[in-house]
Amino acid sequence: MEFFRIKKDIPFMRHALTFNIISLITFLLAVFFLATSGLHLSVEFTGGTLVEVSYPEAPELEPIREALGDAGYPDAQVQNFGSARDVLIRLPNRDDLDTARVSEQTMATLQSVAGPAPELRRVEFVGPQVGKELASDGAMALLLVIFGIVVYLAIRFEWRFAVSAIIANLHDVIIILGFFAFFQWEFSLPVLAAVLAVLGYSVNESVVVFDRVRETFKKRRNLSTPEVLDHAITSTISRTVITHGSTQMMVLSMLLFGGATLHYFAMALTIGILFGIYSSVLVASPLVMWLGVSREQFVKPKREKEEAVV
């Protein structure tokens, strides 16, 4: 079995401008949704209390809402989680509440609602000071990843590669966030972890292509820069698709079997992987070209050596 039977290098670079314009449009759309609707942040970031309960049979949500409203929580959000029998209740932090007791009072209120008694599945309470910290820690982690990758790629390859790879992959991150903003999916800590993991993973993609670019520059002197890039992308495209396909199989398995807890985690990975293929290959490479990569940047040291020998 072999999926890819490519006779000639595909002229990707001829369409470089098109790819960059597509990217720019998706990127701007993502930014637009992020700016207008914003992220639906989980309780970990906003602070508040979250109670998940499970009923023996699907309960009516309206009586639960009313009971909570009567108990002094008119701002409680009540919704199903995963299945109709599981209910998730979100309570924002308020200054006038004894935060340590909220979860117990909520449980007591739920038990007083007529019908079958719920079983407590999980409680999460996050104080206001923790939420802010998590958000700033997340931003710091993102900065550290960007800095680390740029420095590593700059040392290992060339600053042009480092800059293009990071721009291409940051644009992925923004697009994932854009999806979360558009669909108002819950953005939690595991999703943040997934986004950063995908960032590291997509950079791989660019690394593999760049590795080939470097090799081709050294081996085949008759090719122009766009031709070198075309050749590098074409000869790695089989690997790109198969690798991402395999990773996606794993992620799909999480999406199917992982339940509600892993749902958005797997969702972020799926978007990240799909856009990762596109951007790290078809966005990073044109960027490298615009930034003016050329053979001399790779072959120069070797030539000096030869002269010295002569």
């Binding site: 079983e119 599945r121 999460e124 290992r156 590291g200 791989n204 199989m249």
Partner: protein, 622 residues
């Protein structure tokens, strides 16, 4: 050219062998167990306790299949949940004759069912996080400004006493914010005060302030070093106190750890009663110093059931009864520090107490009036007292430095010091994060994580074997070895495995296959260019190595960033992710190469390589 030297094969074999051994405990599952640990800080668990426990179980006719002693606990492995409950009751009755005052904690626990030889080489199953086993997690923040204010208030009192003793006249000493303001009528008195204070303590630094009013001011603030000491002390004391309190909950494996400068993580696996846990965390205990009633006949009368008025009957640590007056001489509020050490003259182990100024004065007066008598130091918790020690007063003790010594071992001195410090919280704490996971959700999470990994792995295995044939099978074996080594490493390090951790495991496997795809594609490409099979395998592995290294390092950078800045679920993800990247490098490159070498390396002439169809451009018909 495609052969590994013997040592390399043996080394890889050994790594796999150890991987298998350390993964093994995870397959045995868990069996019910009863865990006995000490319920009081003054009581060290004695390994000699094993004999009575064994005897008790034999008497109660409860069969058990293993009894383990480690540092702080004795665990008995039992056949069923029913036997577990019977064993717990029997042991509880035997060790804690007085249920209202338990000396030992007898808790239900789960133990790995793996054979003893595995446990003895420290091969344990993975340590499951709360989201997988159920339980309560609290993050507490210690109110450090509160601790500092408390100390400044005490210091202000000390300064008043000090200046009175040194005959320095002042016009008022008050705490204002984070400083103590001392007012004086003239500069001479101010200088005298400063010198006197500097001679007695190094924790304060001074600034003169003359703001036009009639009074001259001296502003004293705590030095940065002193503030740091107070913070360190506050968090340590709060942790110790929490330890003592949580012991009462009878939790089998509580986790109480410092996180950052001013936070404490408390994890109570298996606990569902959150309300009780919160009560216990928030409770206060006090220390009391009282006089012992040694009047002849009084103790005998009390033992006969006729406790004299104004006294209470206690049992000393040695077990002998003690009659203590109800009148409190001094409370723990007056204690500023308690440290273990040695007696200056006899070199015996001792505990050194430091009292604040008011406490010192009271203590001096009481000891002067009661030389030759005994005083008892009690820890009062839940309205119930325990005599920590009851020494004889040899002479008047002034200066606020008290030494408790006599027939103590070094360990006991440590315990007493700890207990005295642990009496109360050094500073108030607030719960800033709470996470409760019910046991059913925990079991669900394990099943979901396991199924995701399993089906993902099967899908990849089927695809790889179909697409790359024998090389695909080799890749799948390498991937399986990767999983084995990752589980072994997690078991060996006893890193906490959470649901995001399992997700990371699945994701890492999905990403790890990349290395093998890179290698296989390279080999195909070499073959396509007409290179001989042996050379193609060689260059394929060789060329792919650089790329694999680069791509794994970029992934590792992201993993490390998550590890550094992540907390809670993100950290659980990052640990597994980083370890998984390391094991995948090993398995994808070395193990798969070893297998390929074993298959092809020995043959002199290799006609074709089973790596799936190779399509060559230009060939007709394809």
């Amino acid at each position: 050219m495609n052969r590994y030297p013997l040592w390399k094969n043996i080394l890889i074999g050994l790594v796999l062998f150890f991987g298998l051994i350390y993964t093994l405990p995870n397959f045995y599952g868990e069996v019910p167990a009863v865990q006995v640990s000490s319920g009081k800080a003054t009581l060290k668990l004695d390994p000699a306790l094993v004999a009575p426990i064994e005897q008790t179980l034999r008497d109660a006719q409860v069969p058990y299949d293993g009894l383990f002693v480690d540092g702080n606990s004795i665990r008995v492995r039992l056949g069923s949940t029913e036997e577990q409950l019977r064993a717990k009751d029997a042991i509880e009755k035997r060790l804690n004759p007085d249920p209202s005052d338990p000396s030992y904690i007898v808790a239900l626990n789960l133990l790995s069912a793996s054979p003893t030889w595995l446990t003895s080489i420290h091969a344990l199953p993975m340590y499951l996080g709360l989201d997988l086993r159920g339980g309560v997690h609290f993050l507490l923040e210690v109110d450090m400004p509160g601790a500092i204010t408390k100390r400044l208030d005490a210091t202000a009192g000390d300064l008043r006493t000090l200046l009175r003793d040194k005959d320095v006249r002042h016009a008022g000493i008050v705490r204002e914010g984070n400083a103590i303001q001392l007012r004086f009528r003239d500069a001479a008195q101010r200088d005298a005060a400063r010198n006197a204070i500097l001679n007695s303590t190094r924790d304060l630094q001074f600034v003169d302030r003359d703001d036009g009013s009639t009074d001259l001011k001296l502003i004293a603030t705590l030095t940065p070093v002193a503030q740091q000491t107070i913070r360190d002390f506050a968090i340590k004391q709060n942790i110790t106190t929490l330890h003592n309190r949580i012991n009462e909950l009878g939790v089998a494996e509580p986790v109480i750890q410092q996180q950052g400068a001013d936070r404490i993580v408390v994890q109570l696996p298996g606990v569902q009663d959150v309300a009780k846990a919160k009560d216990i965390l928030g409770r206060t205990a006090t220390l009391e110093v009282r006089m012992v009633d040694d009047s002849p006949g009084a103790l005998e009368a009390a033992l006969a059931g006729n406790v004299p008025f104004g006294t209470e009957l206690y049992t000393e640590r040695g077990g002998s009864p003690l009659l203590v007056r109800t009148q409190v001489v001094l409370t723990g509020d007056r204690l500023t520090d308690a440290q273990p050490g040695f007696d200056g003259q006899t070199n015996e182990p001792a505990v050194h107490l430091t009292l604040d100024a008011a406490g010192s004065r009271i203590f001096r007066d009481v000891t002067r009036e009661n030389v030759g008598k005994r005083m008892a130091i009690l820890l009062i918790e839940k309205g119930k007292g325990e005599v920590v020690t009851a020494p004889v007063i040899r002479s008047e003790i002034g200066g606020g430095r008290v030494q408790i010594s006599g027939s103590m071992t070094t360990a006991e001195a440590n315990d007493v010091a700890l207990l005295l410090r642990a009496g109360s919280l050094a500073a108030p704490m607030e719960i800033i994060e709470e996470r409760t996971v019910g046991p059913s959700l925990g079991a669900d999470n394990i099943a979901k994580g396991f199924n995701s990994t399993l089906w993902g792995f099967i899908a990849i295995a089927v695809f790889m074997s179909g697409y790359y044939m024998l090389f695909g099978v080799v890749s799948v074996i390498a991937l399986a070895a990767n999983l084995l080594l990752l589980v072994a490493l997690l078991s060996l390090l006893q890193a906490t495995l959470t649901l995001p951790g399992i997700a990371a495991m699945a994701l890492t496997l999905g990403m790890a296959i990349d290395a093998n795809v890179l290698i296989n594609e390279r080999i195909r490409e070499e073959l396509r260019n007409g290179v001989s099979p042996q050379a193609a395998i060689h260059t394929g592995y060789d060329r792919a190595f650089d790329t694999i290294l680069d791509s794994n390092i970029t992934t590792l950078i992201a993993g490390i960033a998550l590890l550094v800045f992540g907390s809670g679920p993100v950290r659980g993800f990052a640990v597994v992710h980083c370890l998984g990247i390391l094991t995948s490098m090993f398995s994808a490159i070395l193990i798969s190469r070893m297998l390929v070498n074993l298959i092809y390396g020995r043959r002199r002439k290799v006609e074709s390589v089973s790596i799936g169809q190779i399509w060559k451009p230009g060939k007709a018909g394809n």
